[in-house]
């Protein structure tokens, strides 16, 4: 998983901040609160993100290798913020829950941490909002495994053949009301 050094982070934040207003509190908060551990421990961001996704989607398999892949996939813009996002979750968790790590919290507590991020300033809210929707898209659509789909919602993915019996119902006339056209084209 790609990690971002503190120096790279500051440079990126500088670029982002250049486009923001002068009163850029969230960016300052992120910079000052970005713990060294997120540079030193390659697995930390992954663990925090897994804890995040399993709070957003309770029941999602925590050991699924693709569970947090979208959040660190360079193909999507969120990847460059993954480290900051994980750090922000950890900081909020520590403050709310007596210094405990986000990834060690109960789902109920993690939910409260995420809700706090969603209620924060506009920039933070955007980050959290994007992280949640990205998790939902990746999981429910099964974007990394076209064959698997998403068993949780009965989505089989691609290349699963169905007979006509599976697609429709017998005696379809019973569903129909009158038609207004002879051939489907309205005059």
């Amino acid at each position: 998983m790609p990690t971002i050094s503190r120096r790279q982070a500051l440079r990126q934040l500088g670029l982002v901040a250049a486009g923001l207003t002068a009163a850029c509190t969230p960016m300052r908060v992120l910079v000052s609160a970005y713990p060294q551990a997120f540079d030193d421990d390659d697995g930390l961001v992954d663990r925090v993100l897994r804890a995040f996704v399993t709070a957003v989607i309770p029941g999602a398999p925590a050991d699924d290798p693709d569970l947090v892949r979208a959040h660190t996939d360079p193909a999507y813009p969120f990847a460059q913020y993954a480290g900051f996002f994980a750090a922000d979750l950890s900081r909020r968790a520590a403050r709310r829950c007596d210094g405990r790590a986000f990834e060690r919290l109960e789902v109920r507590e993690r939910t409260a941490v995420i809700a706090e991020g969603l209620a924060a300033d506009a920039t933070t809210r955007k980050l959290y909002n994007g992280a949640i929707v990205l998790a939902q898209i990746a999981f429910y659509a099964g974007i990394y495994d076209p064959q698997k789909g998403c068993p949780a919602i009965g989505f089989e993915g691609g290349n699963h053949w169905h007979s006509l019996q599976d697609i429709t119902y017998p005696d379809p006339e019973r569903f129909l009301s009158r038609a207004r056209t002879a051939d489907g084209n309205y005059a």
Partner: protein
């Protein structure tokens, strides 16, 4: 730089481009088509929800209150459409603007287009879906309407041998959906047309003599336009095409963008380029079926569920459809929660998981396509960024509110539980206020009786630019209330027929 001389240069390979290419090539003209997107064939398609695969072909234009989706690939949108192929109802052609002026050119109506619809339907093997093949979601939609005494009709599709896989919108891997690279384009090539893909038209320039008197025969026309193109891959080769006739078939966004970028090099006098975009005012609502209903199936069966209701066309100016969609499209389009959900958060966490678990079998989504006025505009910036803007009028807000209320009432009166849908913008944040999203955009270079009202005449020829045509969705002057592809194709057939007449070209007798 390579220079290519041709009788006709056609920009684009989609529904508006394919018919002129085939008809002019059949008539003996030297035809070259240039396509910005990549070559694509049935074997290239995948049944996948990988956004990176889709983003190779599917593009978007974001904007205020409206976002547009289209495809860039050989065959334009035909590789990725839902293959719904319906004729525009007659009343569509009678729409008027705020001053009471007819939006369509005088004399152009359904009756005039019908012979060209016939041709287009034959070419794409369009037929009404057999009742025995209507997907479960379509039947459940029909039941919803039947319970309230409303009519439904089986829709029409461009398909032969549909397998019902549900992946129409990622490209049909069976070659059943009638994409243009299965019919029009290979026939055009067989008739002598050449197609170059990955080649983007950058600008059009009129050559000296463009205003010379009209020659009757194509062979006697001077070379009137040069079009500068650039290869999108490899060494970014530049190619200069010099043509007697140029046909823009690059789509509502592509054709208008190209004309806007060519303002300095074309004698364009119309102020309407990029304006007057109509978009079939699409409004969507969702609900969960009550226990008394059988299961729907969001994922299985063709992407469009087979049924359409014209019940409210004359009274409200809308058609109503059931919607099927892959999870990728649903989840990336809107965040969803039950309307009566008391738990917080509702759109993620346990409540959302419970809702998503019902998506496949118990969720029903309704969409309305409406005759909303052509009010949106494109803006092209120097950085090649195109945006669309839709001024939100009180009338439009009222349309959205009324239509949403009507659709919701269909669900509520059937005892469905409403699902709240907050539609998402490009950054995955909820859109503020009313927002329309569509792939049915038309009108950015609309046909009109005079250049004071549009960009091209009823023959598709750009006012002030003889020999320069727009034959795609850009020239369609109004919303259609039904899917747009068949009307774009039929109108392109009509424009092509007019070109054959104008330039003394005739189809071979054998054809």
């Amino acid at each position: 730089m390579r220079t290519v001389h041709t009788d006709v240069l056609i920009i684009g390979t989609g529904f508006g481009a394919a018919a002129p290419a085939l008809r002019l090539a059949e008539a003996g003209a030297k035809v070259v088509m240039v396509e910005k997107g990549p070559q694509v064939q049935t074997a290239d398609f995948r049944q996948t929800s990988d956004p990176q695969y889709l983003l190779k072909y599917i593009k978007g234009t974001p904007g205020d209150h409206l976002s547009l989706t289209y495809a860039e690939a050989l065959g334009g949108g035909s590789g990725f459409y839902e293959m719904v192929s319906l004729r525009a109802p007659s009343l569509v052609f009678d729409q008027v603007d705020a001053q009471g002026r007819r939006l369509w050119p005088r004399g152009l109506d359904r009756r005039v287009l019908d012979p060209y619809y016939d041709v287009a339907e034959r070419m794409l093997h369009v037929s009404q879906i057999p009742l025995a093949e209507v997907p479960r979601t379509g039947l459940v939609f029909a039941r919803l309407m039947k319970n309230l005494g409303y009519s439904v009709d089986r829709a029409r599709y461009a398909v032969r041998g549909c397998q019902g896989s549900g992946f129409c919108v990622t490209g049909c891997i069976y070659g059943a959906k009638q994409s243009l690279f299965l019919n029009y384009l290979p026939q055009a090539v067989a008739a002598g047309a050449e197609i170059e893909t990955d080649l983007e038209a950058l600008s059009i320039e009129s050559l000296p003599g463009v205003h010379r008197g009209r020659a009757r025969l194509l062979a006697n026309l001077p070379y009137r336009y040069q079009v500068l193109c650039r290869r999108r891959a490899g060494e970014r080769e530049q190619v200069r095409f010099v043509a007697r006739l140029v046909v823009l078939g690059a789509g509502t966004v592509g054709s208008a963008t190209l004309l806007l970028r060519s303002r300095a090099t074309l004698p364009l006098s119309s102020e309407h380029v990029g304006r007057n975009i109509a978009y079939n005012g699409s409004v969507k609502v969702a609900g969960l079926l009550p226990d008394s209903f059988p299961d729907a199936d969001m994922f299985t069966g063709r992407s469009h569920p087979g049924m359409i209701s014209y019940e409210f066309l004359e009274s409200h100016g809308i058609t109503v459809h059931g919607v099927k969609a892959l999870p990728l499209m649903l989840v990336s389009a809107a965040r969803m929660s039950l309307g009566d959900e008391r738990r917080d958060p509702a759109w993620w966490g346990e409540p959302n998981v419970e809702l998503m678990g019902q998506m496949r079998r118990r969720m029903i989504v309704l969409a309305a396509f409406g005759l909303t006025p052509p009010g949106a505009s494109l803006a092209v910036s120097g950085a090649e960024e195109t945006r669309v803007s839709l001024p939100l009028t009180s009338g439009l807000e009222l349309y959205h509110e009324d239509t949403k209320r009507l659709l919701e009432s269909i669900l509520v009166r059937n005892d469905c539980r409403l699902v709240r849908t907050d539609f998402l913008d490009k950054s995955l944040a909820p859109e503020a206020g009313v927002h329309f999203s569509t792939a049915h955009q038309v009108g950015s270079c609309r046909m009109a009786d005079a250049q004071s009202a549009g960009v091209v005449n009823a023959n598709g020829e750009v006012f002030g630019c003889p020999g320069l045509y727009v034959s795609d969705g850009a020239c369609i002057p109004s919303s259609l209330a039904v899917n747009t592809s068949l009307t774009i194709l039929a109108n392109a057939e009509r424009i092509a027929a007019g070109m054959l007449d104008q330039y003394g070209l005739r189809r071979p007798v054998a054809a």
